[in-house]
C-alpha cells in the first residue's frame, strides 16, 4: 500500500504559494513604502565594549584593570568614499592616509563604526570636535582599555591583549568582531573566556548616503555590557615585584611555587617589555622593535626556554641511583682528585683541587662531579632516562599558561639518532649525569619536581590563577595532583642533602642562607657555548615543613652558588620575614 502523493504535493504548493504571495506583496505591491523606510532607516546597532575582568593578586591588589579611553572611530563605508575627509582626519591624527585606509580595510563595506586610533589625547579630541562639520563620518567613542596599574613586573605571567586578527575571528568560538580585543599571551590568553565580558548594544542614528554625522540615540533602550569575571591569582604582588627587581631585566627567570598547592607565587622572566604598548593596539614599529630585540623579551623563559639543568640535575641522578638500589646514603667511590679518566678522555670536577673521598649526601652538598661520573657508570642511561620520565621531567607541567614547551630527556634511541647508531660512547652518560650535554629542561619542570620532593612526593600541576568570580558565581581552578613514584627514604636522603647544600659548612648554596628560616637547595652552573656559565639555584623552605619552592636562573652570569643563590635568599627573607611592599619599593 502506498499513500497518495497528491495531497502532500497540493499542501506543499499551497504553503509555498502563501510565501510567494507574501513576498509579492512586500516587494511589488508595497515596494515604494519599504524603499522609503529603507532610505530613512537611520538607527544602527553598535556595540558597547564590555570591560575585561580585573586580575588581582592573592591580596587583592589589581594587577590588570581597565580604564575608560576615547577612540576616534569612523563609519568605514562612507568615510572610504570621501578622500577629502580622510585627508583632514589624517592631518588631525598625524597619520598617513594609507594608515586610515588600512585600519578600515576589513570592514570596508560596513556601516558599523570602526576604531582608527585608540586612547586619543585631549588635544586630538578637541580638534575633532572643532572640525566636526568637515568630518561627518567620524565619531568619538568611549571604550574601556586594559591597564596594568602596578607596572611591568607581572608581564610574562599576565601576558597582553591585542586586537583580534581575521584568523582569530574565524577560529575562536566566541563571537568576535573586527576591533575587539582578545588575550594574546599568558593568563590573558588562557582565561580569555572568563576575562572577556559580553558586549552591550546601543543605537546610533545614521542616514546612509546623506553625509550627516552619526550620533548616539538616547531614547532607545541600550543593552548594557556585562564585564568579564574577576580573576584571582595565586601570585603575591610583593614577591613578584621583588623578583622583578632582583632580576634587573637580565636574561633569566625567577620562579616561586606554593609547595602545598602548586600555586605560582611569582614568575618573572627577563628581559621584559611594556604591556601597556599592547593595551590600545600595538604599532607596527613597536612590534618590530620587540620582535627584533636580541634578548627575545616576549619569551617567558620559565616555560618557553629549555636549559641544560647543570648540577641541579644531580638530585635526579642521585634519586635514580637510590631508587634502583645501587647506592646508599653513605656509599663512597674513588676519591675526587679534580679529574677523572674515562676511556681516553679526562672529565674534570668543577673544583680543580678535588673533594677527596665523599659519600652520596656530601657529594650533593659539595656538588662533586667526579662522584657523579662514577655513579653514572653504574646507573646507566636507560635507568636515568626512564626514571626522569617517571618523575615528569621532559614533559609539560600543564600550567595554566599558553605556549609551554617540554624539556628533552635523551634516551638511547635519541642519541642513536643524533650520533648514528652506537656511535656515541658511555662518556655521554657522564655528562648527562651532571645535567650537561643533550639534556634540556624548562625551569618550571625542574621546580615542580623539587616542589614534589618538598611535598614528600605529591606533585601538583602548577596554577597561576586560583579562581574567577563574578556576582557571587565562582569557578575554582585547581590543578590535579599526582604522586611521584619515589620511595620516602629516597626523598628523605635527597632532602637531607639539599639541606646541607644551604645549611652545611661546605654547601655550595651557603649564600642563600637566611637567619629567619632553614632552607634546602641545590646549585647549578651550566657550561654553554655562548659565554659564562648559566647560574641557577633551586630551593625550598622551611626544611621541615616546606611552604615555598624557588628557582633562580641567570643566563651567562657565572656560578649558581655565587650569583643565583643570594637572590633566592632575598626572596626567602621577604617571604618569611617582615618584608613589606614599601621595602620592596625601596629596593626597586
Amino acid at each position: 500500500m502506498i499513500a497518495s502523493t497528491k495531497v502532500p504535493v497540493i499542501i506543499a504548493a499551497g504553503l509555498i504559494g502563501i510565501l510567494l504571495a507574501a513576498l509579492f506583496r512586500l516587494q511589488v505591491v508595497e515596494y515604494s513604502r519599504y524603499r522609503r523606510l529603507a532610505e530613512n532607516n537611520y538607527v544602527v546597532q553598535a556595540s558597547i565594549k564590555a570591560p575585561r575582568g580585573e586580575i588581582i593578586d592573592r591580596n587583592g591588589f589589581v594587577i590588570a584593570g581597565s580604564r575608560q579611553s576615547f577612540s576616534i572611530c569612523a563609519v568605514p563605508r562612507s568615510l572610504l568614499a570621501n578622500d577629502e575627509e580622510i585627508r583632514i582626519l589624517g592631518g588631525i591624527l598625524e597619520v598617513d592616509e594609507d594608515f586610515i585606509r588600512s585600519r578600515l580595510k576589513h570592514t570596508a563595506l560596513s556601516y558599523r563604526p570602526t576604531a582608527i586610533i585608540r586612547d586619543a589625547d585631549f588635544a586630538t579630541l578637541s580638534l575633532i570636535e572643532e572640525l566636526y562639520v568637515d568630518l561627518p563620518d567620524v565619531l568619538v567613542v568611549s571604550e574601556p582599555v586594559r591597564s596594568y596599574p602596578r607596572g611591568p613586573h607581572f608581564n610574562h605571567m599576565i601576558g597582553y591583549v591585542g586586537e583580534v586578527t581575521q584568523n582569530e575571528i574565524v577560529s575562536e568560538s566566541g563571537d568576535y568582531h573586527p576591533g575587539d580585543f582578545i588575550g594574546k599571551a599568558g593568563v590573558e590568553r588562557y582565561y580569555e573566556e572568563y576575562l572577556r565580558g559580553v558586549d552591550g548594544m546601543r543605537y546610533v542614528q545614521f542616514s546612509p548616503g546623506q553625509g550627516t554625522r552619526p550620533i548616539e540615540v538616547t531614547y532607545l533602550p541600550a543593552d548594557n555590557p556585562r564585564p568579564g569575571m574577576r580573576l584571582v591569582l595565586n601570585a603575591d604582588d610583593g614577591l613578584q615585584l621583588l623578583a622583578h627587581s632582583l632580576l634587573k631585566n637580565r636574561r633569566g627567570c625567577i620562579l616561586a611555587l606554593d609547595v602545598r598547592t602548586g600555586g605560582v607565587l611569582a614568575m618573572v622572566s627577563g628581559p621584559t617589555f611594556d604591556p601597556n604598548l599592547f593595551a590600545t593596539g600595538i604599532s607596527v614599529s613597536d612590534w618590530n622593535d620587540i620582535l627584533g630585540s636580541e634578548g627575545k623579551p616576549l619569551i617567558n623563559r620559565a616555560i618557553q626556554s629549555r636549559y641544560p639543568p647543570g648540577s641541579v640535575y644531580k638530585l635526579v641522578t642521585a634519586g635514580a641511583a637510590l631508587e634502583r638500589g645501587l647506592v646508599t646514603r653513605r656509599t663512597r667511590f674513588k676519591a675526587c682528585t679534580g679529574s677523572y679518566r674515562f676511556g681516553n678522555r679526562d672529565f674534570g670536577c668543577w673544583k680543580k683541587t678535588g673533594h677527596g673521598t665523599v659519600g652520596l649526601v656530601e657529594a650533593i652538598e659539595v656538588s662533586c662531579d667526579i662522584y657523579f661520573y662514577q655513579l653514572a657508570e653504574r646507573l646507566g642511561l636507560d635507568n636515568l632516562s626512564a626514571l626522569s620520565n617517571e618523575w615528569y621531567l621532559g614533559e609539560r607541567t600543564g600550567i595554566d599558561l599558553p605556549g609551554e614547551i617540554a624539556g628533552l630527556i635523551p634516551s638511547a634511541e635519541y642519541l642513536d639518532g643524533v650520533y648514528g647508531k652506537r656511535k656515541w660512547t658511555r662518556g655521554v652518560m657522564l655528562n648527562l649525569s651532571i645535567g650537561q650535554g643533550e639534556l634540556l629542561i624548562t625551569p618550571l619542570e625542574l621546580l615542580c619536581f623539587v616542589s614534589g620532593l618538598a611535598n614528600w612526593g605529591t606533585y601538583h600541576e602548577p596554577r597561576c590563577a586560583r579562581m574567577a568570580e563574578h556576582d557571587g558565581r565562582t569557578h575554582h581552578f585547581e590543578g590535579s595532583a599526582v604522586e611521584l613514584t619515589m620511595s620516602r627514604s629516597t626523598i628523605g636522603i635527597l632532602r637531607e642533602a639539599m639541606r646541607d647544600v644551604v645549611q652545611g659548612d661546605h654547601g655550595t648554596g651557603r649564600s642563600a642562607r637566611q637567619p629567619v628560616i632553614e632552607a634546602a637547595g641545590k646549585t647549578g652552573s651550566t657550561q654553554n657555548p655562548h659565554g659564562d656559565d648559566h647560574a641557577s639555584f633551586i630551593c625550598f623552605a622551611p626544611c621541615d615543613d616546606p611552604e615555598i619552592a624557588l628557582f633562580v636562573l641567570l643566563e651567562n652570569a657565572g656560578h649558581g652558588g655565587a650569583v643565583a643563590a643570594p637572590l633566592a635568599g632575598e626572596m626567602l627573607s621577604y617571604y618569611f620575614g617582615e618584608g613589606t611592599l614599601e621595602e620592596v619599593a625601596v629596593i626597586r
Binding site: 510565501l19 519599504y34 538607527v43
Partner: protein, 398 residues
Amino acid sequence: MMQQKWLLAALLALAGLGIFAIYSSSSADFGWSLALRQVIWCVLGIAVASVMMRVRIKTLSAFAPLLYAAAILMLIVVLAAGRGPQGTRRWFDLGLFRFQPSEVAKIAVILMLSRYLSDRGAIGDSLKSVLGVFAIAAIPAALILNEPDLGTAVVVGFLAFPLLYAAGLDSLLMLLLLSPLIALICAWEVVAWVVFVALLVTIVVFGRFKTSLIALVFGVNFLVYSLAPRLWNGLAPYQQARVLAFLNPDNYKFTAGFQIIQSKIAIGSGGFSGKGPLEGTQKALGLVPAQHTDFIFSLMGEELGFVGGAGVLLLLLFIVYRIYRIAGTVRSRFAMYFCFGFASLILIQTFINVGMTLGITPVTGLPLPFVSYGGSQMIVFWGGMGIVLGSSASRKEY
C-alpha cells in the same frame, strides 16, 4: 540516478545561491572565510550524500534504531555539556565547528518512524501504533525543547503527522490528532475558541470514531484550554517576546520586533528585481541579525528582488515535489516513508524560515535547508538527499 538530474541541478543551484548570499552578508566582517567554509560544508555534504546513496535500504532500516538511540544520547549529552547563546545548550564546540545534535535528530526521527511504520501493516485506526509514532517523535522533541530550541522541537514533533498520513491514517482522525495544537492557538480568544469547538464537534459527528477516542480528544483539548496560561508562563521571556512581537511587531519595534521589521524593510526595499548582487544597503547597516544563518532569505530578497526570492522558493518547491514523487514510486515501504518524511521536513522548515523573514511566522532559530550557513544542517540535509537518491535508484531492484 540520471533521471534525477533536474533534482540535482536544483539542489546545486540552491546551494550556489546560498554561498553567494553568505559571502554577500558576511564579507564586510569576515571576508571570504565564511563563504569558503560553506563551500567546504557543501562539498562534504555532497560526499556524505554519495556515500548514503550507496547504502542499501535494508541496511538503513536495520540501523535506524541504533541511529535513533545515538541521536537521543547526543541530545542528552548536549543538555549536560553543550553550549549556545544566552546560556542555551544547543551545540558541541568542536573547535573547528559547532556540532548541533538536534539537526541529526531530525533525520534519526524520520528513519526511526520509517522503520516503525514499515514493520507494521496498514495503520488503520490502531491507536496503539499512533501513540507509538507520537512517542518516537516526542522524546527527542522534548529533549530539544529543554535546550531550549522551540522551533526545532516543533519541527521534530511535527514529523509524526506526514508519516501518519503516509501510513494511511484516516484524514479526519488526523485532524482530531492535530486539534490540540490548534486549540493552543484558539485558546486566547473566546470567539476563536467557540468556532474551534464547533468545528471539532462537526468532525466528530461526520467521522465514526470510538467513544473512548472522542472522549480523549475532547479531554485533551479542554485541558489545553485550561492550562494555556500556565504553558505561556512556562516559556522563556525571550520566547514570549518573540511571539508577542510576531503578533504585533510595531509595538516591539526596537526590541523583539526589530528583527522582523528590519527583515521586512530589507526584503520590501529590494523590489521586483532587487538592488543587485552585493549592493544591499540594509545588510551593511548590520540591521538584520543572523543574516548569514537564519535570516539569509532577507538578504536574497533585498539583493535579488522578487525574481530571486521567488526563484529560491520555486527551487525548494520543485525539490519537495520531486521527493514526494519518488516516495510514490519506490517499492520499499521503508524508503517510501523516509522520502515522505524528508520532503515534509524540507517543506515545513522552508515555510517557517522564509515565513519568519516575511513576518508571517514567529522568529525561530531554524535554518533554510541547503542555503543557510552551517555545517550541521548542510551535512544532514545533503545526507538525507543521498538516501532519497539511493532509494530512487534502487526502485527497480525489488
